[in-house]
Symmetry: C2
Subunit: 408 residues, 2 copies
Amino acid sequence: MSLFVKKFGGTSLATLDHIKRVAEKIIKARDQGDDVVVVVSAMGHETDRLATLAKEIGANDSNLHREVDVLLSTGEQVTTALLTMTLIKMGCQAKSYTGGQVSITTNTVHTKARILDINVDKLQADIAKGTIAVVAGFQGVDENQNITTIGRGGSDTTAAALASVLGADECQIYTDVEGVFTTDPRVVEGARCLSRNTFEEMLELASLGSRVLHSRAVEIASKYKVPIRVLSTFSDAEGTLITNEDNETMEKPIISGIAFTRDEAKLTVLGVPDIPGVAAQILGPVSDANVEVDMIVQNVAADKSTDFTFTVRREDYDAAMKILNKVANDVGAREVSGDNKIAKLSLVGVGMRSHAGVASKMFQVLFDESINIQMISTSEIKISVVVAEKYIELAVRALHSAFDLDKD
Amino acid sequence: MSLFVKKFGGTSLATLDHIKRVAEKIIKARDQGDDVVVVVSAMGHETDRLATLAKEIGANDSNLHREVDVLLSTGEQVTTALLTMTLIKMGCQAKSYTGGQVSITTNTVHTKARILDINVDKLQADIAKGTIAVVAGFQGVDENQNITTIGRGGSDTTAAALASVLGADECQIYTDVEGVFTTDPRVVEGARCLSRNTFEEMLELASLGSRVLHSRAVEIASKYKVPIRVLSTFSDAEGTLITNEDNETMEKPIISGIAFTRDEAKLTVLGVPDIPGVAAQILGPVSDANVEVDMIVQNVAADKSTDFTFTVRREDYDAAMKILNKVANDVGAREVSGDNKIAKLSLVGVGMRSHAGVASKMFQVLFDESINIQMISTSEIKISVVVAEKYIELAVRALHSAFDLDKD
């Protein structure tokens, strides 16, 4: 008998018919003798609908963020109730929980909170009684019972966190695709679904814009060694199992996949005095404004000054630019420039560690297509480049083919 | 400086433009130096939309009622967030509260819970700081933090309860009509808005189907001596002030208004043995099923047996009939009959106390229109009759005119 945390996303819960199908999946697992705890997102485009209302009022002001969380959290609450009713109607014992009711405690950074603690008493009591707990994803409460949300895609994170504290055998993320692909099938026809993947690779793929799984979910599952399975609500295929590298087959492919993301922007502070602490002085205020910084590149100094470039999500570009203009003045930099029409692409693969020449091959492929590389950043298992947004599909297709990702 | 609890209903909050208008009304009161605590209903037809989803799943089963409350309570939560954001955007300090956050504790009768206690600490701290608290109406939590709702029209009750525990100067119920009318203006053209009314009269009018105010709200306000004002969100008219009789002018009109309600059903147990305790034996199981019983009539016994009739809301008719068929057998009654095509009409007025002949005039008017009276029930300040539903408009118009309610 295994314990599964099953998370269903908005497209899997878009209508009452969808919800019924989800309930059938849950009951099927139960009938096979397994225990199930369920995490749900909001129905279909409900979060978007609510966010649009907030936007119309002008809720990007941070002093409105407490209320934005009160608003958005209703989306998941609705789904927990509807799915729980459906399960009860189909003969199960089931019970819904808001983030607050199941004691998912977070910090107070509204709209981007972090989970601090989960009390599993109620859930374990439910499991012992054979009651299926249906938990609202994406939300929690701070220590004063203010409602918080943990950022877009946060239901994956809720699921991984619950699977970790409950010691689940698998955290199963149900979505509308078959699993994790070598790259986006909408861009590359030959993209394949991977049967297995490592946390490390998945972390790079997720954080780099492969949309099937939220990177924080992977981080948590990796830390607590809970396997994640990404699979489709609409088929019975096995999906992609994501585990520690140890469990994998011996011979690894060099590259597992190509992730890319379009909604990027870069900012450069030019002529920064090359003195210790200046990077922190620049990034501190950006981070204080809760703008997530992604790639950071700094070249060696020439003439006692250096250029400092980093990327942010495109929606944060204006806020970051405003902060930088002030900061640049404070640190005595020459000027600030930026570009919000860029995209990022990454080759990811644990096999890269033991194979030289991946980077040079990648750069050659892009050169052959006359694509200019604006930034480069590497880690042990990935190479990322920033290019002009208009080249992104071309770059992904060329690399997918050059690295034989379309072949099994 | 006064403290007002202002409650806004769904039609007053149907769109973001409506919400802005409501925010302006609140700010206007604040600018006049008064303290305000706000209670809101769900936007427009949101509760109906959610209830329809629940109904499609089949949520009339009582074992689904916990989840129905989880579902329905989101409607008010959305409105608190949107109104609070709007107030902050317009320069106010404001903060939203769910029923649970403001500690509105209820019993656990899901979908029809009763308020047991309210902790006013947070609200009083907000008032002291000049922060406008925006509280979700209609909802609370039980002692185990399960979400409860207190029945349709429950936001009025929330407002009256808050006004009472806060010792507010007035509980102001904003709606889409000008105030309390002598009867429904859609049925009688000459219906007039009353400038004042007593709790007693309002209690009869509210419980008898005059839709502007929930009877539980009136009960609470009357008990704690908090004046209620019913007024329109869409005008600046004074509305109707509802207070204790003492505050009224000396000479009272005999009749204040005519209430009526269409969605009624009656059930009769025929040939009930006339022994002590039999009424309790019949009504006990009905009440246990949380079916609200309204009029109860029992005639004097003939042949050691009697007939026992009562009315319920039409939606509860089938459930009540099912229970009665079993109970009739248990108590040795002859048979059960019923009619779910009836309507109820009541003349209400505190002046009735000192004037004889109101009942006989009422019955004469109905006789003149050839309307058969099926049941009669009276109290000190009201006379209610049950008639076939098809006669209800005719009956109301005839009585409104006969008792000069169209004249000031």
